[in-house]
């Protein structure tokens, strides 16, 4: 009986773990060009990453102050790229501190 419970529970734990951090996490690229993000919204799966690439002629500073998902990529020189994982379900507002008009809403599902 005990063995059955143990054996019955393990697959469930494994499934839960897999769903929290998918093995097939994808990387999405968002470019910064002409002082805009290449899109204003993006929907991704939990565990996916976003690569922020500066294709502009000026420095950018991508960051988020969304509670639980705060990050600061610091200054990105033209041509530079930084990748960040999104490991929590929710909506994350991403901005450029230098150019406040640049806004991206990331839906993590």
């Amino acid at each position: 009986m005990i063995n059955r419970i143990i054996f019955g529970t393990l697959p469930t734990i494994a499934l839960v773990t897999l769903s929290a951090v998918p093995l097939l996490a994808a990387d999405h690229e968002i470019n910064q060009q002409d002082r805009h993000f290449s899109q204003t919204e993006i929907t991704i799966k939990v565990g996916d990453t976003i690569s922020f690439k500066n294709d502009d002629e000026v420095t950018h500073n991508v960051f988020s102050t969304t509670p639980g998902m705060e990050f600061d990529l610091h200054r990105q020189a033209p041509g530079a790229s930084s990748t960040i994982p999104f490991n929590k379900v929710g909506d994350v507002e991403v901005d450029c501190s230098i150019h406040p008009r640049m806004k991206l809403l990331v839906h993590v599902r």
């Binding site: 002082r35 420095t59 600061d72 200054r75 020189a77 033209p78 406040p100």
Partner: protein, 353 residues
């Protein structure tokens, strides 16, 4: 800011009313390496089309333009009764005679006490995303009430302001026409002032005539200055587009303890950062920089030529020594003077009694 571009064919467009791009020396070398080379390979024609004026003034959907709103806002803007002393108006620090600044290094507030920063112009503020030097207001409506309520500036509690206005009989009709069915309150005051401010637009300048095809509109010196502005001097990296601002925030290396945007947004790169001001009509607004320490545009160009003064981590990577020659500095000055429009004098409003 949610806006709906509403054509205000009038004036605006255009004819009426009417600071630039630098650690220890090794850090400075790193900063230089991280900076894109000035796009000097691009043609003059390419750059000219980047500065074409917009066709209309953007007004937000919840505060669209009307003549009555402009009139009410203008009246409030010039009315000193919006201050606790009855002697300071918005226009005291944003004086049309000084290109909507005050010509002082730093503003003067209540009790004739000096404030911490230079009074910014309201010229072309309709196109600003964030207001104040540190960007703490995200709309003109939000900005408008700040200096009124500030104890250091106009020192007028907003409930007291509303009471004063409600007791001036002739204001009732002005508000009723501008905002039918709405009371005289903080919101309608803010919306009216913001409506007026959006109509304060720099007129057609010689530079505008030049990019429209009139080669005789500006001097050859100024044309070389334009090339430098977009090339070797790199000014365009911050002073971009028709209003000559990226509406962004940069630490340009002024020796100062004021952390500016850094007090609002606690990121390393925002320490000592301030909003890029417009360069439209800039030769009418000395002294310069957020603290008014540079007396002339020539001094400002010297400041940027040496890559700023302060050496710290937050310094913008765009701030590097420019090595401009004396002639190049003269050309840049000649160019900047072409951004000034000759605008009609502003008519002073008659105040309600």
């Amino acid at each position: 800011m949610k806006t709906s571009t509403r054509a205000l064919l009038l004036m605006l467009v255009l004819g009426l009313i009417g600071s630039v791009p630098g650690f220890l020396s090794s850090d400075r070398a790193k900063a230089a390496a991280n900076t894109a080379p000035p796009p000097s390979n691009l043609t003059r024609a390419h750059w000219k089309q980047k500065y074409i004026r917009p066709a209309s003034i953007p007004f937000p959907a919840d505060n669209l333009y009307s003549k009555d709103r402009e009139l009410l806002g203008k009246t409030l803007f010039f009315d000193p009764r919006l201050s606790q002393s009855g002697s300071i108006a918005c226009a005291s620090c944003h004086n049309p005679g000084f290109s909507w600044g005050d010509g002082l290094p730093r503003g003067i507030g209540t009790g004739m006490k000096e404030l911490g920063r230079r009074s910014p112009t309201i010229l072309n503020a309709a196109w600003s995303d964030l207001l104040f030097w540190d960007g703490r207001a995200d709309s003109l409506e939000m900005q408008a009430l700040g200096p009124i309520a500030s104890q250091r500036e106009m020192n007028m509690p907003l409930d007291a302001m509303v009471k004063v206005l409600q007791e001036i009989p002739e204001y009732k009709a002005l508000f009723a026409r501008a905002y039918p069915g709405e009371p005289i309150n903080e919101k309608t005051v803010a919306r009216a002032i913001a409506s007026f401010e959006r109509t304060v637009v720099s007129g057609q300048a010689p530079f505008d005539r030049w990019i429209s095809g009139d080669e005789s509109a500006i001097s050859e010196d100024a044309k070389r200055g334009f090339d430098l502005f977009n090339g070797k001097a790199g000014c365009v990296q911050c002073h971009s587009q028709w209003n000559f601002t990226d509406n962004g925030f940069h630490d340009v290396g002024l020796e100062d303890t004021d952390r500016g945007r850094g007090d609002r947004l606690h990121l390393e790169g925002m320490q000592f950062a301030f909003k890029t001001p417009t360069l439209r009509n800039v030769d009418r607004r000395a002294p310069y920089m957020h603290e008014g320490n540079e007396q002339t545009l020539a001094e400002v160009i010297d400041f940027y030529d040496r890559g700023g003064d302060a050496r710290r981590k937050s310094l913008s990577p765009e701030m590097v020594p420019l090595h401009l020659t004396a002639q190049e500095k003269t050309d840049l000055l000649a160019f900047l003077s072409t951004l000034t429009s000759v605008d009609k004098p502003v008519e002073f409003p008659s105040f309600p009694r």
